[in-house]
């Protein structure tokens, strides 16, 4: 199984809502990532978890809250988002090996904030 599964595929939320994005992989990868991607732009790194610990937070606003319940799951909790947060949110995983960072991306959640 070489898939990273993300749910939901689409999400529309108001600025006062709380929602969560979910990501799952069963490849035994020990590094998991959240990226944000705007149209016609490259993915922007938000968070990296390695061995279930948060290792990188790219100064992401606190309205985005990541969680890694176990080595296969990654969540992104959303609260009080702004319309400019509308984007494609991509989860990815990779093996945690020096010199090897092949990323497996999920199909993403297209988020619209109204």
């Amino acid at each position: 199984d070489t898939e990273v599964t993300q749910t939901p595929k689409h999400l529309v939320m108001g600025m006062t809502n709380k929602k969560s994005l979910k990501c799952e992989q069963h490849m035994g990868h020990r590094a998991m990532y959240w990226y944000k991607q705007k149209a016609k732009k490259p993915p922007e790194l938000m968070f990296v978890y390695s061995y279930e610990k948060l290792s990188i937070n790219e100064s992401v606003p606190s309205r985005f809250s990541p969680e890694c319940p176990n080595s296969s799951l990654l969540n992104l909790h959303l609260h009080a988002l702004q319309p400019e947060d509308s984007a494609l949110y991509l989860c990815a995983s990779s093996t945690y090996q020096e010199g090897s960072m092949k990323l497996f991306f999920g199909s993403g959640t297209q988020l619209s904030v109204l």
């Binding site: 016609k40 732009k41 490259p42 990323l103």
Partner: protein, 112 residues
């Protein structure tokens, strides 16, 4: 901070023509990777280059890593309509595991 510049931003070709996209990093890289994102899709890993001067081929795709490990290129021979998409390079400096720096991407359109 580290920057990876990628050109061109857009490329329109006739089917059968060749295509090249170039990446240039402001700092020496530990490795560089290439990803393809089809319209409406997600990035898919193509290849990773690690060694100075490395050249790798995948069918019609040729990837190069510069001698100074600061630049890279992807060349597609005889493009097909299935090559349509955005090609991203992504560099890693070798520190702060997980922190890839993506280029801006080249959007390739292939006209039949």
């Amino acid at each position: 901070g580290q920057q990876v510049m990628q050109i061109p931003q857009y490329q329109h070709v006739q089917e059968g023509e060749d295509f090249t996209t170039y990446c240039n990093s402001s700092t020496t890289l530990s490795n560089i990777q290439w990803y393809k994102q089809r319209p409406g899709g997600h990035p898919v890993f193509l290849i990773q280059l690690v060694k100075s001067g490395e050249v790798k081929k995948q069918k019609r795709l040729t990837f190069q890593f510069g001698e100074a490990k600061k630049n890279s290129s992807l060349h597609i021979t005889a493009t097909q309509t299935t090559d349509v998409g955005t090609y991203f390079c992504a560099g890693w400096r070798g520190t702060s595991y997980g922190k890839l720096t993506f280029g801006q991407g080249t959007i390739l359109t292939v006209h039949p």
